[in-house]
Symmetry: C2
């Protein structure tokens, strides 16, 4: 009942399995006529090599394990899309596993990868370096994406959140905004941490006299709405909001407008990520080319696997600011407002 094996092909072509293997793998030490017979037999039987057996024999699975957290939709798919594109280009398959917040589950996810993949791509913005290092099989090559801190000299790709946040604060100041409030992401999330720090540092460097004001959030839209209500209720001045991601910015935007505020005339709003929604709402944000990062991560990992590169080092990806209507410059504003 099962599929044809290499032995069936050998029998049909009246040769040994070794010859079949050689012929089908394109080795040159096989006579032309023999090869033809083998190829014909394989075709007739619809023979497809058993990848599992093959990888056991070769000690290469030509598969890459991908461990991602529960990302926001668009982000997740774009990342996987970029990875898949590069992986299939280089002859690898992707083994996917969502990593849930539970670090126990994460470890289990990593374990099931053993013996199925040649290397790992791990995005873990919320796991401590220590527990990540513990869960990561030492012998398995891995590329880390947006992991906090340095993990055991593993090659890593990181979004330059700090630079992005810095650029955004600079942009707002240049537009004439002075009292910039930051809605932060989850404290345990390294992206959120770096964006917050970028905000702080930019303010300290470019407008040291202006107040630093941070409202806690969790990357969800509701947090943005709550922050907006807090800002509206407060008596402290605020002419611009910089949220740590677009979803919070969007929630904030809506709540402000519903309360009768004009954006950006009364108060500017900016986000981070450039989700598709951002374009439609004309929300100023920071573009994160996540698909590109995913593809690059695969490329680096495959280079390692094939001994083509040293692998080491952290690569930083600079995101780009997309200025839109929600932060249009105040009339008469100058760069040094």
């Amino acid at each position: 009942m099962g599929e044809a094996t290499i032995r069936d092909v050998a029998r049909r072509a009246e040769v040994s399995v070794a010859s079949v293997s050689r012929a089908l793998n394109g080795l040159n030490n096989v006579r032309g006529e023999t090869r033809e017979r083998i190829v014909a037999a394989a075709k007739e039987l619809g023979y497809v090599p058993h990848a599992g057996a093959r990888s056991l024999s070769l000690a290469r699975a030509h598969a890459i394990g991908v461990v991602l957290p529960d990302l926001h939709g668009e982000f997740f798919s774009e990342c996987v899309r970029g990875m898949d594109r590069e992986a299939s280009r280089r002859g690898y398959v992707l083994l996917l596993s969502n990593m849930h917040d539970d670090s126990e589950q994460s470890a289990a996810a990593l374990r099931t990868m053993r013996g199925r993949v040649d290397g790992l791509l791990v995005m873990a913005p919320h796991i401590t370096p220590e527990s990540l290092e513990r869960a990561l099989p030492a012998a398995l090559p891995a590329v880390l994406i947006n992991a906090p801190g340095e993990v055991a000299a593993r090659p890593a790709l990181r979004l330059d959140n700090h630079a992005g946040a810095h650029a955004m604060v600079e942009h707002l100041l240049a537009g004439g905004y002075r009292h910039i409030v930051h809605i932060a992401g989850p404290e345990s999330n390294v992206d959120a941490q770096e964006r917050l720090q970028g905000y702080r540092d930019a303010l300290a460097a470019l407008a040291p006299d202006m107040p630093v004001r941070v409202i806690a959030g969790d990357f969800n839209e509701e947090a943005g709405e709550a922050a907006a209500r807090q800002i509206l209720a407060s008596h402290e001045p605020c002419d611009a909001v910089f949220a740590a991601n677009d979803m919070m910015a969007i929630g904030c935007l809506h709540t402000l407008r519903q309360a009768g505020k004009r954006v950006p005339e009364d108060i500017a709003v900016a986000g981070f990520d450039d989700v598709p929604l951002a374009r439609y709402l004309a929300l100023t944000t920071i573009e994160v080319r996540i698909a590109e990062i995913g593809a690059r991560a695969v490329s680096r990992l495959v280079d390692m696997l094939e001994g083509k590169g040293p692998g080491g080092g952290v690569e930083l990806y600079a995101p780009e600011l997309i200025a839109r209507a929600t932060t249009a410059a105040r009339t008469g504003a100058t760069a040094h407002g």
Copy 2:
């Protein structure tokens, strides 16, 4: 250098590999004291079973191959998320492969799955049943999602596009709209075909005196923009547009508004899919619970693999209409206009 194998554990515990296998797999025919020694040795060596070897021996990989087309972002991720959730719940891993339009690549994608997975989940709204049947390994259980036609009695999950489109036309007519134009999706896409047919059938059944007018599209925003321009330039009456998906509806919506049309006062607009954007633009649409479909597909496949179900048959998923502002009822409208 490599990871510890079962033999290393056996050596360390001073038992045979057979005992190690038994102990670690929870068989009861192993003495308590022996089991403890084995477990201890495994832990000390950080032993993790080699899934590849295991699946070769068991003839079960505990992996599911997922072949998806190049879906719109949110759709793709939601689908995979639903699948992953159910798969990990039932102890399976997902092997992912984007299937590009090229049917050659698709066949290749399916081939690389052989020997790695126990079953297949295939979403192929744009491949003919014949070529899909040809590419599908006969011996591999598979569940089809939104595949055109019946493929070799494979169990299938399908979105009831026809019912969704029908419901939308009914909704528009009830709102007092009479001249409803449909912007179709790609001709080769079965979802698009069914939505178009639903539109035709609903109109024929509920408003046979009203004109059927279809503008060709391709599911992209630009097609919606082009359709809007066509509608604006035309002298034929049109008070509602029903696009085969949200992206085209959104493109249409923007172009109409930019041309000074009021929506829905001058012309109503509706889509299909309920992408996140739709909510923000208050676009009436049809909600497609794609994650649920993905999870259900996994569930059915695993049932088949574990002999728990017959598997056969086509399951239809009824989508739900989400009425929003872009199709608000005309003042004074009645259900029978």
